[in-house]
Symmetry: C3
Amino acid sequence: MSFSQIDRRSFLGVAGGALLCTIGGQKVYLNQKADVEKLATGVTIPPKVAAANKNPGLVKAAAVTGNRKEYWIAAEQRRWNIIPANSNGKKRDQMLNQTIKKGKTSFTAYAYRQYTSGFGEPIGEATVPGPLIEANVGDTVVVHFRNLCPVPVTMHPHGMFYSNEMDGAYKGYWTDPGGFVQTNRDFTYVWECPEGTEGTWMYHDHGPMDPIPLYKGLFGPMVIRDPNETPPDKEFFVGFHSFLPPATGLPAAFDCVNGRSFTGNTPTFQANIGDDVAFHVYALDDNFHTFHIHGHRWKEPGGAIVDNKTLGPGDSFRARFIEDNPGRWLYHCHVFSHLHNGMSGWYLVE
Amino acid sequence: MSFSQIDRRSFLGVAGGALLCTIGGQKVYLNQKADVEKLATGVTIPPKVAAANKNPGLVKAAAVTGNRKEYWIAAEQRRWNIIPANSNGKKRDQMLNQTIKKGKTSFTAYAYRQYTSGFGEPIGEATVPGPLIEANVGDTVVVHFRNLCPVPVTMHPHGMFYSNEMDGAYKGYWTDPGGFVQTNRDFTYVWECPEGTEGTWMYHDHGPMDPIPLYKGLFGPMVIRDPNETPPDKEFFVGFHSFLPPATGLPAAFDCVNGRSFTGNTPTFQANIGDDVAFHVYALDDNFHTFHIHGHRWKEPGGAIVDNKTLGPGDSFRARFIEDNPGRWLYHCHVFSHLHNGMSGWYLVE
Amino acid sequence: MSFSQIDRRSFLGVAGGALLCTIGGQKVYLNQKADVEKLATGVTIPPKVAAANKNPGLVKAAAVTGNRKEYWIAAEQRRWNIIPANSNGKKRDQMLNQTIKKGKTSFTAYAYRQYTSGFGEPIGEATVPGPLIEANVGDTVVVHFRNLCPVPVTMHPHGMFYSNEMDGAYKGYWTDPGGFVQTNRDFTYVWECPEGTEGTWMYHDHGPMDPIPLYKGLFGPMVIRDPNETPPDKEFFVGFHSFLPPATGLPAAFDCVNGRSFTGNTPTFQANIGDDVAFHVYALDDNFHTFHIHGHRWKEPGGAIVDNKTLGPGDSFRARFIEDNPGRWLYHCHVFSHLHNGMSGWYLVE
């Protein structure tokens, strides 16, 4: 069942829904607003974080080996419209050719934003999901992270090798500085890509307010390539997630692909006949999903041929195939209530 | 959690449950009745469908190559009893040896029905699931489809290769004629089975009323065989799905295998020692399931030995093994609330 | 969505939640207390069980071949504290460094307990999960089972080969004696481990009161080893499950690892650099989960490299890798509401 489908009546009603988390002793329900800044006042600074604030030299980082892949990324607040109006001022679901009646669809998101070297200039806007982090096996990824959000947040990578200090996870008393990056502070993550880390991954906030900042938009795609493998011609990154009342303050809940809801607002991917195509798919919410593309299928590492695959929170995989089928196709989560609450998009092949 | 377990009180109560979909601007809740014919009045005929109605020559279809596997299949209304009474007039759960107190269990289903060539004579009754569609790699499947239901419905195949016009999916403005087959109209689907399409699949309605017609019974099993592989001696098709209030109009919800609920009503499969057995398993509802057989296990394509496997909506797989264990066995979904709401059956081996 | 998160208000409220099961004609809801002893009065003794009670010689068992792995295991009642207080009298979540406000956390569990030969002496206390059952391919496992619980319970194994009489499953009229072991009775299960049964498995109650006794604690880990494979240096068994109101009589619900909730109470696993490590993971509740370890990844049988894996009720798998990363790591279910309701723990590497 999709908890993403909560009615306005539940939203305005008293507590009693399902619990998302407890932060600073305060319960956060899936179907109710939460004030993340107020919740943050219940969280104290862990001792290793306090110590590193005074003496930044206490932070240990691995030596950079191989190619240095360097990123400057900030976590920022920005207005985010889950369903932007089209040129006629309508919010539309192209798959069902209908106008969406969801009420307000904009909120103050948290989003990762890439900058040029030394945080010189922003490279485009902050986005949900955040910028692609990519590396080859053998590289070292160095992420200079700046927190411009009003609560402590982090970057936690999947798949890569990273030393304990670099996991970007809040761990209570034992939290390392990278697991609790305070407002207006920087932290440099050093993540390694030895053999055996190749694959489709993601990164996301895993700080003391987890999972609210992630639900407000703090996640992004990551890929580590095997240099012995021919790279695909076209790559698409598909993040299945939800925008829920405790994170958005909106009464409606939204099932999303890459920060948007409903076909025409979610990404429209494009490829040509003959392209070697890779869909990198991951999920990050409280639901399980299946990824389905019409008119296509792919082979799993074990050899099974599939056109539909289950994935849960934190799972990621790659669907790779040679494009051989022109037309306007749907890709979507095959959970019917997710599909019909916005988790679908176009894939156009010429 | 199983939303299939909604109590009469919720059913009769006001809205506020989980949303299944929105059709023609009308919200359909998982725990409430829906009038699909009334909803259909909110849906307009897409332009390509209107054009093909006037000029059927506009529909493009692939040339038939290889063997032509030809089917005549209608979608029809029929009364369907989810839990037929036994010879003593009782509705029974044989697994728990108890009488089922579910209230009314019959409703007007939508079901696929196979006919002889040219829609000459029906081949048996319309059934949930519909008739097996089977082909070998290299074949072309031609399905002459007739819609005798009161709303537009379709046939959308998984796994097969099909050109964009043949995907049987409603796509709003861009809908092809095969994605919106109106009442009392025919459409001929041409689906291809090149190498790389072999496997266990399913087909289902994906028209403008999706997912309600599917939830009313419009789905069926499909298998594409590799001619280089020895065929199994016995094949069983297991469809995990739900009958829910918006589709049935019944207050209770039912977890089902192949259109029936509870052991003794769901299929009783039979095999003999030494048989090369294939269970083809698929799921089509809003829940995730696991398929488990007592006393048996099988090897996945990647080599893992399992006796229990997760599958979500749209997923399908084959469990194949040499039968070596006589007795009365249970097969079931291992989600306890699904098992105990009817998603189980007998497997008898002699 | 986690139904494990039900609020006190729902617990005390009227019916209308999701149904877990129906026993003896009585409905058991996920968010309400149930009286399993009272429910048991609605269940009658199946004929084969009654016959074997008079003539124990009617029970057929396979001959023991290979090594005889013999266990004496009782199912017993015991008080179980899901969140024991620490030395300061506080119930703590170490991951979030906060005090847990859950109210009462102790209840009368059902738990398996191992004894020395002939039920001579208990080997430690009854535990949730029960004792590890382990064997090599080629062995025969003989479990002398004694039911000291007030309702009929059983032991049902996954993965192993067992004849129909030995499946420990209630099957209504056709129930074998091993599927309905009454209070203060014994039953000897004989389970075989031929080639093709190697792997990570579990056992659990599957008697007439299923799934309540399992939800009260009657499950445990099981592993069958391939003698041609080098054994791991360190092995950890991770059971994801829930303690819910109908089983505990407590108003709160708990997401658990091995019978406990929240980091610091759940198992803290320890390994050393260079260890060949195996995590054996299984799930047994009504939810789907994903298993994630920070700073580590492993190769699936099919070759995919993952650090996060979906598993549903009854699923089990092994994550095996060479330990190469020192530190304090979290392992957890990546469903955020499960993680934050207690399904996480420490993994310490030196």
